[in-house]
């Protein structure tokens, strides 16, 4: 049997070897273990062996009671019942998270406020593939290449999870798990029509089947809307009415295939492509919109291999590509010089990411489990507008993480995790976390954790360079060929720093019908990166924007989550967060308070029931209190009520459903930008599943 007193040689080698040897080291070490002799009989360990559960927190298969972080699981039923049409809307159900429409087709999702035009402190993954865009340091929720129907469930880590998922998981992480080809059979077709100004149209086709030894799922969709339509600057109806041209359309196709050549090996290949166009407000010109084309594709291959009953290996390789294009030519006039045309659509270019990740999970004995991960990533940006001087930039990053779960005794569980990262924008950075879970009884557990985490400046933040080029023409005198700095990065950014403390309580009813989760947290963020003005000796206003470590703030608060189901087909999902923020953003000699940049209260209540005659219904209530959005407006509190009614019809080998969704039944409200009214939106969806 295993001797507990000595460290396993594999783990020693992981920490001590230099990184280039690391991937090879893990692979060689694990392959050699494959030859371990198996027990000739079925044993008690086989009978009590673990089976797949939640994985996002530590990469270990853990129950919620063992997890070192607070988590919210959003399953398929909850997504359907929410009536969400856009994926981002689903995160309104997560306590402490805020979802906001910057405009009709641009969404932001943040944890504990500080919502920006391009929020970037959450890691978002689809089946473990990071979909964070280096080009804009954010996520494009409208161009992920998947639809709501492709999703099986979503794991949301509330709180920093850099220790497992890397720098972007600074304040939380979202892993969207898509449907395996084996989970559906036959075909599905669905049509969506929306009323009101948006006039949403959606078409979705899906087919699942098997082709020889391959199980395949194909999904294609088209989604379009006419945008917000009309509004008033600052939301003030006394201002002249203006057109808000934020319409959008997107076509997407994705394929997922599973191949299991042996009992211990499975391969998962995912391919996706999307192409569309969105009316996007220009950052440089208020209230003006330009059509921005988006085209993207991805490839993701995952190999999972069981080395033995205690050790699993997972290797994931993926490539993401996204390109934004579209010009916005504007006449520029300076003094008495002739007017010239300049392209003011800066948010465009190409973003590419290659990533290879090797993960090894190991149960050493009933008391000790480990998850090791080593990864290497190549990011490349190409943008004439955002990287004026260089035009393109690339960066190699590597990372190494480990999580150790140690059972001290029947009640106490310790989770120790750390991530070591290196990239071109930072040197080496170590982010550790220590968590203790205490099992009060079979239903209740307590959790306490302390986290130190660093977020490296994104490639764009560290290198952004936006300039206006005056024509080289004698008519412009001294301005001929001159460059006007709009945003110039001095390349002295330091990583953002987080120190977080939390206490959690979890109760799960023995029959699984109810679950309650409470979390008290303190998050201290230092050196928060934001845009600021600095003095610059240029030709116009002597100031230029740059990214700086300009903000410090402390968030304190409480999150509550309650799931309740009854035997009579009624259920409730409740999520509430109270957050108190103190902090400031310093710009030169002045400073701006960040106290109101997080809503004090966020509430989501979603209740559903199944009625006779195959009718189901749900009612959602969402409340967000007053918020000063960073780079946006100060929006008042709002209450929103959504309702969904669905009737299904069953036949021998097919099932049809008619679904009516009304979002925001009562008065209009605003999110992020006061001129974007969110009125009542009604959607009708018809779907047909058949063999």
């Amino acid at each position: 049997m295993t001797d507990h007193s000595t460290a396993h040689p594999i783990y020693e080698s992981l920490w001590r070897r230099p990184v280039p040897c690391l991937l090879g080291g893990v692979l060689l070490a694990t392959f050699s273990l494959n030859a371990q002799a198996l027990q000739p009989f079925i044993t008690e360990d086989d009978m009590f062996s673990s089976l797949p559960t939640v994985k996002s927190a530590t990469r270990l298969q853990q129950t919620l009671q063992q997890s070192p972080v607070a988590m919210t699981l959003i399953d398929r039923e909850l997504i359907r019942a929410s009536g969400a049409v856009n994926l981002a809307d689903v995160f309104r159900l997560v306590p402490g998270f805020q979802t906001y429409h910057i405009h009709a087709n641009l969404f932001g999702v943040v944890s504990h406020g500080q919502g920006q035009y391009h929020p970037g402190r959450l890691e978002v993954m689809v089946d473990g593939r990071s979909v964070h865009l280096t080009l804009l340091s954010t996520v494009d929720w409208a161009a992920l290449g998947i639809t709501l129907d492709d999703i099986d469930y979503i794991e949301v880590v509330r709180g920093s999870n850099i220790q497992t998922q890397g720098s972007n998981a600074f304040l939380g992480a979202i892993n969207i798990v898509t449907r395996d080809p084996l989970q559906d059979q036959g075909s599905r077709i669905s049509l969506t029509r929306g009323s009101g100004s948006l006039k949403t149209q959606g078409y979705h086709l899906r087919h699942s089947g098997h082709w020889g030894p391959l199980n395949v799922r194909l999904s294609a969709n088209y989604h379009s809307n006419n945008g917000t339509g009309r509004g008033h600057d600052d939301g003030d109806s006394s201002n002249p009415e203006m057109r808000i041209e934020d319409q959008g359309e997107i076509s997407q196709f994705n394929l997922r295939t599973t191949y299991t050549p042996t009992l211990t090996d499975s391969f998962d290949l995912q391919l996706g492509i999307s192409d569309g166009q969105t009316g996007t407000e220009l950052i440089s010109v208020d209230n003006d919109y330009v059509d921005r084309d988006v085209s993207s594709h991805y490839q993701n291959l995952t190999w999972q291999h069981s080395l033995n009953q205690d050790m699993d290996l997972k290797v994931q390789a993926y490539h993401n590509y996204l390109r934004y294009s579209g010009d916005a030519l504007y006449p520029i006039s300076v003094g008495s010089f002739p007017t010239f045309q300049a392209d003011l659509a800066f948010d465009k270019g190409t973003s590419e990411r290659y990533d290879l990740d090797v993960e090894l999970t190991h149960s050493l004995d009933p008391y000790n489990r480990f998850a090791w991960e080593a990864g290497v990533r190549y990011d490349r940006l190409e943008s004439d507008s955002l990287l004026y001087e260089d035009g393109s930039i690339s960066d190699w990053q590597w990372r190494l993480s480990g999580n150790w779960e140690h059972r001290l005794n029947r009640n106490w569980l310790l989770n120790l995790g750390a991530m070591l990262e290196h990239s071109g924008t930072i040197d080496h950075q170590l982010s550790p976390r220590l968590a203790l879970n205490y099992q009060l009884d079979s239903q209740q557990s307590l959790r306490a954790s302390v986290t130190r985490a660093y977020r490296a400046p994104s490639l764009l933040e560290a290198n952004m360079d936006v300039q206006l080029h005056f024509p080289e023409d004698p008519a412009y005198g001294g301005l001929s060929g001159a460059l006007l700095n709009l945003l110039h990065q001095p390349q002295d950014l330091r990583p953002e720093k987080l120190t977080a403390y939390e206490i959690g309580y979890l109760w799960q009813a023995p029959d699984g019908m109810s679950q309650f989760d409470a979390r008290l947290f303190i998050e201290d963020i230092e050196r928060g990166i934001d845009q600021a003005y600095s003095y610059y000796d240029d030709l116009m206003d002597d100031q230029v924007r740059e990214y700086r470590n300009t903000s410090d703030w402390r968030s304190r608060g409480l999150e509550l989550q309650w799931r309740l189901e009854t035997e009579h087909h009624h259920w409730l999902h409740a999520a509430y967060a109270f957050t108190d923020v103190e902090g400031e953003k310093r710009t030169g000699s002045s400073s701006t308070s960040l106290d109101n940049s997080t809503p004090s209260h966020t509430l989501a209540l979603l209740a559903g029931t199944r009625l006779p005659w195959d009718v189901s219904g749900s009612l959602g209530f969402y409340r967000l209190t007053q918020t000063q959005w960073l780079g946006g407006d100060k929006t008042p509190s709002y209450n929103r009520v959504d309702i969904r009614l669905a009737k299904s019809f069953q036949a021998a080998r097919s099932e049809a459903e008619v679904e009516l969704v009304a979002q925001n039944l009562f008065s209009e409200y605003q999110e992020f930008d006061l001129k974007n009214d969110f009125g009542t939106r009604v959607f009708l969806r018809l779907s047909l599943d058949f063999q």
């Binding site: 044993t43 008690e44 086989d46 009978m47 062996s49 797949p52 299991t260 050549p261 009992l263 029959d511």
Partner: protein, 343 residues
């Protein structure tokens, strides 16, 4: 770890003569009294399942003063100190916890009676070949080798699993199952039992080099219900994901063998927890004690656990639109009072 953990239910160690408690009990009952039963509990290492089992055993045998007087337990973990031959001579009975300790006892103990616990029927029969006069090792006939070894198995008899599956879903006519490298030997027996319960068994066998999805596809698409059979952990873990997905997709109930399986999405499971094995072991010891008092040296035959747990996933039941009977009723139906409590 053992030092603070070891159980010492009597007030002195073995060989220390009459105990104060024993002396009091003797004067009270006023009858000739046998010496205490000296029992060694032996596990490979202090794993939680062994600790849970022995703690429950301790609770059971501390209920009465008489019990406390009769039973004297000690613990040893093989990864710390292996008991010497001299030490073993001081005990009346060895109780092994788990397969590793059972394997050790096969070579290290000669005359000491042994009760194997937390062991599967298959491991017991593999480690201890049947005695010449009991050649048959049919799964349903839990046999002991001679008189010196007995066992309380950890796994459930197939009859109980099938009965349970039929109580959960009485409409089932076609039962699907997947047998692994170690469990496939039981296939003829399972087929025979299914037939007697008017169930058609659709089964596939799977080796580690086989494609699990291709093996499962025809089985699940031709079954009304699926029974997961435990095999080696690597088999269990690598088939569970596909079995869960495919049975869910086809809308057929999945009956499993562990709480973990139910937590992962199986409809129901029947299994014996370490606590149940602890209580069964206490029963076994009381019966063994009565036999000894009656002058018999033969151990009780090896047997399946009499106590078991039932776990149901209500969310899965709702999604399958099944109304399940409550657990107590299921338990009563599975184990009519007294039927299985006799050795």
């Amino acid at each position: 770890m053992t030092g603070c953990w070891a159980l010492l239910l009597t007030l002195a160690g073995p060989g220390s003569g009459l105990l104060p408690g024993y002396a009091q009990a003797e004067s009270r009952v006023n009858s000739p009294h046998p010496p205490p039963n000296r029992v060694l509990l032996l596990g490979s290492h202090p794993a939680p399942i062994y600790q849970r089992m022995t703690e429950r055993l301790q609770q059971q045998l501390q209920q009465t003063e008489e019990d406390q007087t009769y039973w004297h337990f000690e613990h040893r973990w093989l990864n710390q100190t292996e008991p010497s031959a001299d030490l073993l001579k001081q005990y009346d009975l060895l109780i092994t916890l788990g397969t590793e300790a059972a394997r050790w006892s096969v070579t290290q103990t000669r005359s000491l009676p042994v009760l194997h616990t937390l062991i599967t029927r298959q491991a017991f029969q593999g480690l201890i070949p049947p005695s010449p006069h009991q050649p048959s090792a049919q799964p349903r006939q839990a046999t002991a080798s001679g008189t010196s070894r007995s066992a309380i198995f950890l796994d459930q008899p197939y009859e109980r699993q099938l009965h349970f599956a039929q109580l959960i879903f009485p409409d089932a006519r076609r039962l699907g199952t997947l047998m692994g490298p170690k469990s496939r030997i039981d296939l003829p027996h399972l087929q025979q039992l299914s037939l007697s319960r008017k169930l058609t068994l659709n089964s596939a066998t799977l080796d580690t080099q086989d494609n699990p999805i291709q093996a499962l596809q025809p089985v699940i698409s031709n079954s009304d219900m699926f029974l997961a059979i435990p095999d080696q952990a690597v088999f269990n873990r690598n088939t569970a994901r596909w079995i869960l997905m495919m049975t869910y997709r086809h809308g057929i109930p999945l009956i499993a063998y562990s709480q973990r399986y139910v937590e992962a999405g199986a409809l129901a499971a029947i299994f014996s927890s370490p606590e149940s094995i602890g209580r069964d072991t206490a029963d076994w010891l009381r019966q063994w004690q009565r036999r000894r008092l009656a002058g018999s040296v033969e151990l009780l035959p090896a047997r399946y656990p009499q106590r078991f747990e039932i776990e149901i996933n209500r969310a899965t039941a709702r999604s399958l639109q099944l109304q399940l009977p409550d657990i107590e009723r299921l338990r009563r139906q599975l184990q009519p009072l007294g039927q299985e409590l006799q050795p």
